[in-house]
């Protein structure tokens, strides 16, 4: 299939039963440099890996079904909606844009993400937001153990509960949890929920289109007591 020479608002339908994953990904990559369809619908993903990865265009990609590893990885500007579950590393290293998963997601959702918004309507497994660097993540359900591990920037909003070792070795990211926290990781503490934080949670919930009262959330972040936070150790780096 050749890339179309003109932009179109028509829905571009791609069935992965008849189109190869590589062909699809090449077509959506090409949107970064050449005009093409702005709205895509992908059928029969059947858990395929690296689906809609590396997008860099203001397009909307909807995927009907469950996706495999690293879906919407490195996303820039695009909106990717998964009408199903996602496996390991959804929106991994996202730069900007929006990724929405209707179902549950597996480990390391939004890992190392630098920007944009990841919305998970169901639950996220362990290590959600691991090493996040500016991405915002809103989870409608609960997150597993070691979420926000070494999280550096951005916000993780959890409407349900959080598993053990939340925010272990966290830097400057903010974590908001509405339900129970099984346990906090090293150097992660509960912090005061000030007006600016209620406002931030309200804004993220609105963007995620999740109905919850921002005042019900508690905030967690870094106590800044680990070795690298002590000025006496500055010379070691």
């Amino acid at each position: 299939m050749a890339v179309r020479a003109v932009e179109t608002t028509e829905l571009e339908l791609v069935d992965l039963e008849s189109t190869s994953l590589r062909e699809l990904n090449q077509r959506v990559h090409d949107l970064a440099t050449a005009p093409g369809p702005r709205a895509w619908r992908i059928l029969n993903p059947n858990g395929a890996h690296a689906l809609a990865c590396g997008l860099d265009a203001e397009v909307e990609v909807e995927i009907d079904g469950h996706v495999g590893y690293y879906c919407a990885g490195m996303n820039k500007r695009a909106t990717v909606r998964v009408h199903g579950n996602a496996s390991t590393g959804i929106a991994e290293n996202m730069m900007s844009g929006l990724v929405v998963v209707d179902g549950n997601v597996s480990q390391s959702a939004g890992a190392t993400g630098r920007g944009g918004l990841l919305v998970v309507r169901g639950n996220a497994s362990s290590r959600c937001g691991i090493s996040m660097k500016g991405i915002d993540i809103v989870v409608g359900g609960s997150v597993g153990h070691m979420s926000a591990f070494m999280a550096q920037r951005g916000a993780l909003v959890v409407c349900g509960d959080a598993g053990d070792a939340l925010g272990d070795s966290i830097y400057e990211a903010r974590v908001y949890v509405r339900g129970q926290v099984a346990g906090l990781g090293a150097d992660c503490v509960e912090k005061e929920m000030r007006d600016e934080h209620v406002e931030q949670v309200g804004g993220l919930l609105a963007a995620a289109r999740i109905d919850a009262d921002p005042a019900d959330f508690r905030r967690y972040g870094s106590a800044r007591q680990l070795y690298n936070f002590t000025i006496d150790n500055a010379g070691s780096y």
């Binding site: 059947n46 858990g47 395929a48 496996s87 549950n104 362990s126």
Partner: protein, 303 residues
């Protein structure tokens, strides 16, 4: 990396096509494990008082009929061998322990892949698709099955080093991960009388389960013991005469997904393997929690 799959039939239709579904699931896991593949299929129970052995011979011209005659002579009864590639199933008029011991004593050149009433284990080096074809997996009917595709990390690629591993009569283990304390544990299990055929880490986990079960632990207790005594990464699937169980290590290093419909329960390393099953799109699916034993058997699902 490895791939593991499990399928438990809740309807006669799925039992009838168990091997076809199993083969499709296994082939989906080729990229996780191109070195070797294997399955444990629970099917065709041996008659009362008889038992079933799955044997492997490195000799492609193995005289299985002669072996059956020897077993008939020793025990009074042995059905004609059912041969699939390098493996043969022999149904013997003896209990599994006697039949197993006889083969180990008189034919040390053969490997007993499995022994019991219902289990059959087949495994071989090579791509999963080649394995499925060589062993005519699509022909199998059965109640439940486990499968494994191997990407070897810590020991040689051999038939014996492939999964599933037998962990006792009608029991088997498949493993995705790697264990770090297997050498020391192997030595302590040898002192308990557990035998090992390879340097493989999973065989040690299988031996550990066999030992705990021999010491009258329940399957659940034996699996929970793994959380204490095994050091390393693992998602395990264990097959029993009645069903199977799944366990992930306490920090869930290795993937697993479970799914259930009215017709089947399935587990796999990845959704790709489950997507090939009938009705998968509408299945209830979830990721098993770390350190929690999940088990299905006939009693539990009312099948």
């Amino acid at each position: 990396m490895c791939g593991i799959v499990g399928l438990f039939a809740k309807s006669p239709e799925v039992e009838e096509r168990l091997g076809e579904h199993l083969a499709a699931m296994l082939v989906q896991m080729s990229s996780r494990g191109p070195d070797s593949a294997g399955v444990a299929v629970y099917r065709d129970p041996a008659p009362g008082g008889w038992s079933k052995l799955t044997l492997y011979s490195a000799d492609r011209a193995e005289g299985w009929a002669a072996l059956a005659a020897d077993l008939r002579h020793a025990f009074g009864g042995c059905e004609e061998p059912s041969v699939r590639a390098s493996h043969a199933v022999l149904v013997v008029d003896a209990d599994a322990a006697e039949a197993d011991a006889w083969v180990r004593r008189h034919r040390p050149d053969l490997r007993v892949m499995s022994a019991g009433q219902v289990i059959e284990i087949y495994k071989e080096t090579g791509l999963p698709l080649a394995f499925a074809r060589a062993f005519s997996l699509e022909d199998f009917t059965g109640t439940h099955a486990l499968g494994h595709t191997r990407m070897a990390t810590e020991s040689r690629v051999t038939t014996e080093g492939s999964h599933p591993f037998s962990t006792g009569f009608d029991l088997c283990l498949v493993h995705n991960g790697s264990l770090s304390n297997h050498n020391r544990l192997r030595e302590s299990l040898r002192r308990e009388g557990i035998e090992f055929q390879t340097e493989n880490d999973t065989e040690v986990a299988a031996g550990y389960l066999a030992w705990r079960l021999r010491e009258r632990a329940s399957l659940e207790e034996a699996l929970e013991g793994c959380l204490e005594d095994l050091d390393g990464f693992y998602t395990f699937a264990v097959g029993t005469a009645d069903g199977f169980a799944v366990l992930r290590d306490p920090i869930a290093c290795k993937p697993a997904v479970l799914a259930e419909t009215d017709d089947w329960v399935a587990m796999s390393s990845e959704w790709r393997s489950i997507a090939v099953l009938p009705g998968a799109a509408d299945a209830r699916s979830w990721e098993p929690e770390p350190g929690v034993v999940y088990a299905w058997d006939k009693a539990a699902v009312g099948a």
